[in-house]
């Protein structure tokens, strides 16, 4: 479904990603783990196209080479909104809800590209089912929500776009351990409903617990990859990258 080959990203001389290659098959749940600054967020931003959507006059423009294919179509040159249209939905780091809109409006913005009202309504019910707290907070300004609620809102908003491939960036950031697990549980549930998921996480344990296949990203390169079992076999990987 998603195939990345030799993706290299430079930020004003500094290399953020170095020849990264990665593959996600339809229906898979793939995790990418790596420490801070290893280029995880850059990877997702490159896939969803926002990386290159820096305003033209801005000084620090990244440069990108390599190829990103989605369902056999190259999307590395596409605009972010066209990539969204294809069904690649990026749930960004730090949630980023529209702060001065209500929760409901935020969810509605998720369905911006969709026309069919009854389906939208069905999906809204589904999101409420997944995150009942959002229904309670529907009329509240999203900036007044707590961190966990905002994360739920962000995932819910992404779901409203009817994703084929859902890119989730650090859903556990700044959440209490209990909440982390709850969020991950919902993500798994979404995956089970048929959405392909590419999860980027710093928290190795929860990623190992949920993802089918895991890539380890270090210093902008893919250090290694494999299923949980494969990775746990290698002592080096365990100690150096996973810290287990």
């Amino acid at each position: 479904m998603l195939e990345i080959k030799d993706l290299t990203v430079h930020y004003d001389g500094a290399m953020a990603l170095n020849r990264v290659s990665l593959k996600v098959e339809e229906g898979e749940f793939v995790g990418v783990v790596g420490p801070n600054g290893s280029g995880k967020t850059t990877l997702l931003r490159a896939i969803s196209g926002v990386l290159m959507e820096i305003e033209p006059g801005k000084k620090e423009r990244p440069s990108l080479s390599g190829s990103i294919m989605f369902n056999g179509k190259g999307i590395d040159k596409s605009k972010a909104w066209n990539i969204t249209k294809m069904g690649v939905i990026h749930c960004p780091e730090r949630r980023r809800p529209f702060a001065e809109m209500t929760t409901l409006d935020n969810l509605r913005m998720g369905a911006y590209l969709r026309k069919n009202r009854s389906e939208i309504k069905k999906d809204l019910e589904w999101v409420y089912e997944l995150f009942p707290i959002l229904k309670e907070r529907a009329r509240q300004m999203s900036q007044t929500l707590s961190g966990g609620e905002q994360q739920m809102l962000a995932i819910g908003r992404a779901l409203m776009s009817k994703p084929k491939l859902l890119l989730i960036d650090e859903p556990s950031l700044g959440l209490a351990p209990l909440l982390k697990e709850a969020v991950l549980k919902v993500i798994k549930e979404i995956w089970r409903s048929g959405v392909t998921i590419l999860l980027v996480e710093q928290d190795v344990a929860i990623t190992l617990a949920s993802a089918q296949r895991i890539y380890i990203l270090a210093h902008g390169r893919i250090a290694t990859q494999g299923t949980k079992e494969e990775l746990m076999k290698s002592r080096d990987v365990r100690e150096i990258y996973l810290g287990l």
Binding site: G49, V50, G57, T84, P92, F98, M109, L113, R157
Partner: protein
Amino acid sequence: MIEEILVYGAISGGMYALLALGFTLIYGVSGVVNLAHGSFFMVGTYLFYVFGISGFFSLIPLTLLDPTWGPLAALILAIAFTGVISAALYRIIIHPVLGDEIGVMVVTVSLALIIQQLILMIFGPPNLRINPLVTGSKQIWGLGVTNMRLLAFGVSLILFIVLWIFTNKSKVGNAMRAVSQDREAAMLMGINTERLYMLTMALSAMLAAAAGVFITASITEYAAPWIWLHPLALSFSIVILGGLGSIKGSLLGGFIVGYAEQAVAIGVPEGGSIISIVPFTVMVIVLLLRPKGLFGKRIEMED
């Protein structure tokens, strides 16, 4: 005296608010400080002149059907053309420097000067007459107010309400609000920000053109190549005192400036001579108390 301040202040305040609305809209959505805003005011007025009053394009024959049609058609055409022109100019000139604050200001200032010189070359410096759309006057609290001003006041309030509903209820309006709050997240929702910016620019310029036609037809009754400067100065001081990017702020700011101008004109000795500094003074005072203006709290774009 107090009646004068209230009546005349309200009428000019309403028109000022309309003028400032476009300026605040384009900044709020795309972060562009459009120093050519006054130029679109002027372009709208000149197009109204071209379509409505003189020359080859004149739509005066329409008035044979009904006397109100000619000016009305000219008004709509002028506003529409300004929108198209501004969208094209945005794409060619402003888009390549978007995100570079100083660059945007330089290109828009250049654009303003270019438009001024073009109009000087095409129409020459002398004033062109812009007839009021309606004639006659009414008495309000014993003060004479021309009907044209009442019409302009009414139209600005209506446009304000329409825009308010548009941004809060319509899909495109929601997209505008979303982009103004978080450009990148909005993009991830599938909003085509490039097209949205262009649309906002057109909308902003159309509001400026509408303000141009109504203000010139009701107050000055003439168009000249330098009528961009005063509207620009007015709109930016109103917008800054109300808070850049805030629609509410521009409405309130417009009325504050309208009342303050009248109060100074009437209350200060020789106050009429320093009317032009009233908007700036109010702006500076407000800024010293509240650095982001009355309602300015636009969320910074990610860097």
